[in-house]
């Protein structure tokens, strides 16, 4: 099973991990959801939701299921129970609950558990690489918050999220950024200058890969909008596609949907300038600002 230290992902993914394990154990024995459900006096729908990590686990249900699935090693039982309990604990982002809508919470949670974050950004600099001035300009520009205090908290939240990239065993960020996002002077020239310099610095990080998708690439399959694909260390977890909307977000993990987005991601990575040219391209955009 994957590591699951408290800084390695909040509840959502922990549940996904426990759920994925339960699904594997059940199908290995050729049991139906109905049979599993009967054993814990629940519905097949409940089993479905447990296996998808959509609901929390009760100790007793979990013990009964592990028993049914012939998991006899006491260490494995204890580990699984511990993992499920951890899944019921809040993540660090709880502190920012009032400025963080639930749909974004789940994202922060997943993002912190990912081993690889691939993202395409058409309009913005990727969130994990934004400077605080840039974030402030985006938040104010979007009129998302009224009070200065709320803006401040949102900025701090974004910054807290960025510590992900410098923690121990950080995930890898592989971002493709449209030239448009780099040329739009968000917050004015000075702010954008600082932001571009930050991006140039980021290209030196061992776990960050940045590719610029130049205007010269013409029409491309990702023009419809920004998206991210998260991959997790546990092979049993599916890749998750994240799409952010104004008031909500979508999480796609069905194979057919992930395949489509992965295809688009691969296509734009092939079209974008290779990563070893990024610093030079950013420097040129900076000069022309």
């Amino acid at each position: 099973m994957a590591e699951f230290g408290s800084d390695r992902g909040g509840p959502t993914v922990q549940r996904m991990l426990v759920g994925a394990k339960l699904r594997r154990l059940r199908t290995d024995l050729g049991l139906t959801r109905e049979q599993a459900a009967d054993h814990i006096r629940a519905s097949a729908w409940k089993i479905h939701r447990l296996e998808n990590g959509q609901v929390g686990f009760k100790d007793r249900d979990l013990r009964d299921l592990l028993d049914l699935y012939q998991v006899e090693d006491p260490q494995e039982v204890a580990d699984t129970l511990a993992m499920a309990r951890e899944a019921n604990h809040p993540g660090w982002w709880q502190h920012y609950g009032d400025v963080l809508p639930a749909w974004f919470r789940a994202y922060v949670d997943l993002e912190s558990a990912a081993s690889l974050i691939r993202t395409y950004e058409g309009q913005f600099v990727p969130g994990l690489l934004q400077t605080d001035d840039y974030i402030r300009a985006v938040v104010q520009g979007a009129h998302l918050e009224r009070s200065g205090e709320e803006v401040g908290r949102r900025v701090r939240l974004r910054m807290a999220r960025q510590t992900l990239l410098t923690r121990e065993q950080p995930p890898r960020l592989w971002a493709v950024v449209d030239e448009a996002a780099l040329r739009r002077p968000v917050g004015g020239r000075e702010v954008m200058r600082g932001q571009l310099e930050r991006l140039i610095d980021a290209t030196k990080l061992a776990n960050v890969t940045l590719q610029v998708l130049p205007f010269a690439a013409g029409a491309h399959p990702a023009m419809v909008g920004s998206f991210s694909i998260l991959r997790f260390p546990d092979q049993e977890l599916p890749d998750v596609v994240y799409l952010e909307h104004l008031t909500s977000a979508s999480y796609l993990s069905k194979t057919e949907e992930v395949d489509r987005y992965l295809h688009v991601m691969e296509s734009i990575c092939v079209r974008a300038a290779p990563p070893d040219r990024t610093a030079e391209l950013l420097g040129r955009i900076l000069d022309e600002l």
Binding site: R172, D259, H263
Partner: protein, 262 residues
Amino acid sequence: MNELNTDVPQSARVYDYWLGGKDNFPADRAMAEAIAQQVPSIRAQVRAQRAFMGRAVRFLVAEAGVRQFLDIGTGIPSAGNVHEVAQELAPESRVVYVDNDPIVLTHSRALLSSTPGGQLAFILADLRQPESILDDPAVARTLDLGQPVGLVLVGIMHHLRDDDDPQGILATLLDALAPGSYLVLTQSTPDFDPEAMRGLAEVSERGGIPNVPRSFADTERFFSGLELVEPGLVPLPDWRPDLGPAQEGGQSYAYGGIARKR
């Protein structure tokens, strides 16, 4: 070749699926599963091949003193890529990776990084045009062809038909390398389970990926004019098991060997 096509199976992505990766598409998975029907041990075989490559590179660095590599048919990055094995022992090692799948190129460029003292380069090219590999400026920029090079051809020779002139391709590549260079080569074979390998080849060909298992004698011919190092050309798990982690059991349907250019 620069265009990405995920509607047809592609060798690197089929391997990725067997190795447990997620950088593959429905056509790749369908072929991988169809082949697994013919050769149920295919995943173990692919891992055995990967393990052989690790031992081979370890041998070249630790015992033969090789510090530069030309790896053709890189595949989608996975654990134990050539430079990782080499640079762990000799951080100054330099590696040129070559593959004909644009996804391999972008993933390698994005995800593989060298030690500070070493160097990596990535080339989109096809083994069937060896000149296009040798003429790529990245080769001259990264490798000193006056010094020995480890030419790594693992899991790729079976994609060459006899019509592609594999002997000629090997000759072209080896001619460009200095004396003291080494050839690392694997080749799938029908010698142990002819029926399974015939099935594998058929499924693969039907999906548009050439697949030519070869006999021991035909494989040995790839090394003609070179000095095979101990233990010679053998089933993959039998090649210097002392250099790597314990092998999984089972049969191997591929030969592997390492030979030195005089």
